[in-house]
C-alpha cells in the first residue's frame, strides 16, 4: 500500500509538509499537556534533586 509513496520524487513534497504538520501537532499536544499539569505535582517533581 505504501510502496506507491516511494516510487517517484513527486511524492517527496508530502514528506516535508507531513513532517511539519507532525511536529506542530506533537508540539500542540505537549503544550496542552504541560499547561494542564497540576501545579503541586510539578512543584514536587521540580524539587526532587534537592530531597535526596
Amino acid at each position: 500500500m505504501f510502496s506507491k509513496f516511494f516510487v517517484s520524487e513527486e511524492w517527496l513534497g508530502i514528506f516535508a509538509i507531513a513532517t511539519m504538520l507532525l511536529f506542530i501537532l506533537a508540539f500542540i499536544i505537549i503544550m496542552v499537556w504541560v499547561v494542564k499539569l497540576n501545579k503541586d505535582q510539578i512543584e514536587e517533581q521540580r524539587n526532587l534533586p534537592l530531597k535526596d
Binding site: 514528506f15 507532525l22 505537549i30 504541560v34 497540576n38 534533586p49
Partner: protein, 720 residues
C-alpha cells in the same frame, strides 16, 4: 497537595553504590588526560608534521580518530556514566539494580577504550567519523551498552520514588537512541577479523553516517549532559530548576527535532536536495528547544547569582550552559546553505565543535567533578584557589582555541573562493591557503595548552582531595517503599491519568521516546533507499580493480579522509579548482563513502590522472619534494611495506555480497589482475629511475589515486 490517597509510613533502609561512581570518576580523569594530550599532539602536527616522530602509528591520519574517540567516548562517556550512576540512585532512591552489571559495564567500557587505543594507531578503522572502530569492537560496544541499559531500567523498576525526574527522561532517551544509532550505522560485512565494509554505499552511506554522526553529538554529547545539568545545577545552586514545565517541553521537542537534522552535514553534496532541505529546516527549529534548555539552566540561578562569585562549581556550570547556548545557535546557523557554503570543510567547524566539547562537555564535567569528589570523600576541596585557576586558564584556553579557528575558517573560505578580475582563481595552489593560517593554528595550539594546564591542575587538586578524605563505598540511605496499586484521585477530567501514563511508567515512556526519535530517521532514510531517481546510474562507473580496492583500504588505514575530502561541491570556485562537481552515481561502489568533513589538504575526487605516477610516489615519500612547504606528513613506510594480497579474495567476496558487480568467480582470479596492474605502475616508475617493486603498498595506493574521479569522463547519466 499530592494526588496520592494513601501514604506509606514504613522506611526501607538501603545503601547507594558509590564505588562505581568513584571508578567512573577516576576513568574520566585518566582518559581526559590521554584524550586531550593526543589532541595537543595532532594540533602540533598540523604545524610541524614531523611531530609524528616519523612513525606510522603516531601520524595525524591515524591518531586524529584516537583523539575524537578518546574525548567523546572515554572522557565524556565515562563522565556520563559517573554522573548517571550517582544521580540515578538518588533520584530513584534505590541502589543500582546490580553491582555486578555495574562492574561489567565499567570494565567492559574501559576494555573498549583500550581496544580503540590499540587498533586506531594500527590503522584498523572503518573511516566513518566517531564510528571508526572495527566490527568486533562494535559488537562489544553493543553488548556493554545493553548491560548498562539493563542496569538502568532495572534500577528504575525497583525505585522508591514514583516520579521520574526529567533528568532520567534524558538518560532514557540517551540509552535507547544511542543503541539504535550504533547498530544501524555499524551494519557491515566482515572481510576478516579487523576489516569490514559497511552495507551502505556512497550517498546512502553518507546519509546513514551523518544521521549517526549528528545524533552522536545529540544523544551522546547533549541529551545525557542535559540530564546531568538538570540534576547537578540545582544541587550546586541549592535551588530547584527554574521551570519544570519548560523542561518537559524542552525534552520532547528536542528529541523529536534532533534526529532530523543530520543532512545538514551534507549540504551541497550529492545527497538529494529534498533531504538537505529537510535537514536545514529542522536544524533551524532546533534553536527553540535548545535555548529553552539553556534558559532553564541559567534562570535556575535567578536570585542566586551572588553564589557564582564564590562557587567555582557554579562558575564552570554557567560557562558550560552558555557554551551550550552558543553552540546550539551556531549549529543551526551553519546549517543555512549560504553559511554552510562558506564554513563547511574549514576550521570554522573545528571551532564550533570545540565550543561544545571544551565549553559544554568539558566545563560541565569539571563542575560536576568539583562538586562530586569532595562529597564522595567527605572532605572539602583541597584548594579552591587552584580550582579558580583551573576555571580561568581553561576559559582563556577556550577563547584562544576558538577565536583563531573562526579567523582561520573564514580566511580559508575567502581564499578558496577568491577570483581575480580576469576570472581565474586568485589562490590556485591550495597550499598557499594553508600556509596563510599557520599562525592561527599556532595560537590554537596555545589555547589547547592552556586548557590542558587547567586540566592537570584539576587532577592534582582532586588527587590531593581524595588523599585527604575518607571514602564510603556504601552510603546508607532510607526512603519509604513504593506502594504498588496505589489509588489516585482523578484531577481535572482525567488529565493526570494521561500524565501518569507517561511520566510514571518507564516502559510506556521509553516506547514513546523511541517512536518520537525514530520518526525523523525513518522518513529521511527510507525514501533515499526506495526512490531510484535519488541515485541516477552512471553507465561508465565501474567497480574498483583488485589493486585499487587494496589501495583504497590503505587510504582508509592511513586516515587520508581526515584531511582530504572526495566531494566537489557545485560552486564555480570548486569546479575551477578540482574539476566536475560530484554526482551521486559516482559513489555507488564506495563502501564506505570517503567524502570527508575537513580540508586540511585539497579535495582528491578528481586527482586521478592529474599527476604522473612519479609525482604520487615522490609526494607520498616526502610531500615537500613536489610541494615545497607542504604540511602533509611523510609516508615512507608505504614504499617499504609489502601489500598483503592474501586478503584480496575475502575483500572481493565481501564486495560481491554487498552487490558490487564483479564477474562470477572473480575473487579467485583477482590477484592475477592485481599483480598485472601493479607491475605496469612499477614499470612506469622504474623507467623514471625509481627503485621500487610491484608488491609494495605504495603501488596499490597510486593505483587507487589514479582511478579517482576518472569514471565520470564520457558519462551517460540514466535513471533506469
Amino acid at each position: 497537595m499530592s494526588d496520592l490517597t494513601s501514604t506509606n509510613t514504613t522506611l526501607d533502609k538501603f545503601s547507594y553504590d558509590n564505588v562505581i561512581v568513584k571508578y567512573f570518576a577516576y576513568a574520566v580523569m585518566v582518559w581526559g588526560a590521554v584524550g586531550m594530550l593526543v589532541g595537543l599532539l595532532i594540533a602540533g602536527q598540523i604545524i610541524i608534521p614531523a611531530w609524528n616522530l616519523n612513525l606510522q602509528y603516531t601520524t595525524f591520519g591515524r591518531i586524529r580518530p584516537l583523539h575524537t574517540n578518546a574525548v567523546i567516548f572515554a572522557f565524556v562517556g565515562n563522565a556520563i556514566f559517573m554522573g548517571i550512576y550517582y544521580s540515578l540512585q538518588r533520584l530513584l532512591k534505590a541502589r543500582m539494580y546490580s553491582d555486578l552489571l555495574s562492574k561489567v559495564h565499567f570494565w567492559g567500557w574501559q576494555l573498549i577504550i583500550v581496544l580503540a587505543a590499540i587498533t586506531l594507531p594500527l590503522g584498523l578503522t572503518t573511516s566513518k567519523e566517531y564510528a571508526e572502530l572495527e566490527w568486533p569492537i562494535d559488537i562489544l560496544i553493543a553488548v556493554v551498552w545493553v548491560v548498562f541499559a539493563i542496569n538502568m531500567f532495572g534500577t528504575i523498576a525497583k525505585r522508591r520514588e514514583r516520579h521520574m525526574y526529567v533528568a532520567i527522561w534524558f538518560y532514557i532517551a540517551t540509552v535507547v537512541t544511542v543503541a539504535v544509532l550504533h547498530i544501524f550505522n555499524s551494519l557491515a560485512i566482515p572481510a576478516g577479523l579487523f576489516k569490514s565494509y559497511p552495507i551502505y554505499a556512497g550517498v546512502q552511506d553518507a546519509l546513514v553516517q551523518w544521521w549517526y554522526g549528528h545524533n552522536a553529538v545529540a544523544f551522546f554529547l547533549t541529551t545525557p549532559y542535559l540530564g546531568l545539568m538538570y540534576y547537578y545545577l540545582p544541587k550546586a545552586a541549592e535551588r530547584p530548576v527554574y521551570s519544570y514545565k519548560l523542561s518537559i517541553i524542552h525534552f520532547w521537542t528536542l528529541i523529536f527535532l534532533y534526529i532530523w537534522a543530520g543532512p545538514h552535514h551534507l549540504l551541497y553534496s550529492a545527497l538529494p536536495d529534498w533531504a538537505q532541505s529537510l535537514g536545514t529546516v529542522f536544524s533551524i527549529m532546533l534553536i527553540a528547544p535548545s535555548w529553552g534548555g539553556m534558559i532553564n539552566g541559567l534562570l535556575t540561578l535567578r536570585g542566586a547569582w551572588d553564589k557564582v562569585r564564590d562557587s567555582v562549581v557554579l562558575k564552570f556550570m554557567v560557562v558550560a550552559v552558555t557554551a551550550y547556548g552558543m553552540a546550539t545557535f551556531e549549529g543551526p546557523t551553519l546549517s543555512l546553505k549560504n553559511v554552510n557554503a562558506i564554513a563547511h570543510f574549514t576550521d570554522w567547524i573545528i571551532a564550533h565543535v570545540h565550543i561544545g566539547a571544551l565549553g559544554w562537555n568539558g566545563f560541565l564535567t569539571f563542575g560536576i567533578l568539583y562538586w562530586l569528589v569532595p562529597r564522595l570523600f567527605k572532605t572539602p576541596l583541597f584548594s579552591k584557589k587552584m580550582a579558580n585557576f583551573h576555571f580561568w586558564i581553561g576559559f582563556i584556553g577556550i577563547i584562544f582555541y576558538a577565536a583563531p579557528m573562526y579567523w582561520s575558517g573564514i580566511t580559508q573560505a575567502l581564499m578558496w573562493k577568491q577570483f581575480t578580475p580576469e576570472g581565474v582563481l586568485q589562490y590556485p595552489n591550495f597550499l598557499e591557503t594553508l600556509l596563510q593560517i599557520k599562525m592561527m593554528h599556532m595560537i590554537r595550539f596555545t589555547g589547547g595548552l592552556f586548557y590542558y594546564a587547567g586540566f592537570i591542575a584539576m587532577l592534582y587538586n582532586l588527587v590531593k582531595t581524595i588523599k585527604a578524605g575518607s571514602f564510603i563505598g556504601d552510603e546508607n540511605a532510607e526512603a519509604p517503599a513504593l506502594e504498588k496499586n496505589v489509588q489516585f484521585e482523578p484531577i481535572k477530567g482525567g488529565v493526570m491519568k494521561k500524565h501518569r501514563l507517561i511520566e510514571r511508567r518507564p516502559f510506556q515512556f521509553t516506547i514513546l521516546a523511541i517512536v518520537v526519535v525514530l520518526i525523523g530517521g525513518l522518513i529521511e532514510i527510507i525514501p533515499t533507499y526506495l526512490i531510484k531517481s535519488n541515485i541516477p546510474t552512471i553507465q561508465s562507473v565501474k567497480p574498483y580493480t583488485a589493486l585499487e580496492l587494496q589501495g583504497r583500504d590503505i587510504y582508509i588505514r592511513e586516515g587520508c579522509v581526515n584531511c582530504h575530502s572526495q566531494l566537489v561541491r557545485p560552486f564555480r570556485s570548486e569546479t575551477e579548482r578540482y574539476g566536475e562537481y560530484s554526482k551521486a552515481g559516482e559513489y555507488v561502489y564506495d563502501h564506505p563513502f570517503l567524502w570527508g568533513s575537513k580540508r586540511t589538504g585539497p579535495d582528491l575526487l578528481r586527482v586521478g590522472k592529474k599527476y604522473p605516477n612519479l609525482w604520487h610516489y615522490l609526494h607520498m615519500d616526502d610531500p615537500t619534494v613536489v610541494s615545497p612547504g607542504s604540511l602533509m606528513p611523510r609516508y615512507p613506510w608505504l614504499k617499504e611495506q609489502v601489500l598483503d594480497i592474501s586478503t584480496t579474495e575475502s575483500k572481493i567476496s565481501a564486495m560481491k555480497t554487498l552487490g558490487v558487480p564483479y564477474p562470477e568467480g572473480y575473487e579467485k582470479t583477482a590477484n592475477g589482475d592485481l599483480q598485472k596492474q601493479a607491475e605496469e605502475i612499477a614499470l612506469d616508475l622504474q623507467k623514471q629511475g625509481i627503485d621500487v617493486t610491484s608488491e609494495k603498498e605504495i603501488i596499490a595506493l597510486i593505483g587507487y589515486l589514479q582511478r579517482l574521479g576518472t569514471d565520470i569522463k564520457n558519462t551517460t547519466v540514466s535513471n533506469k
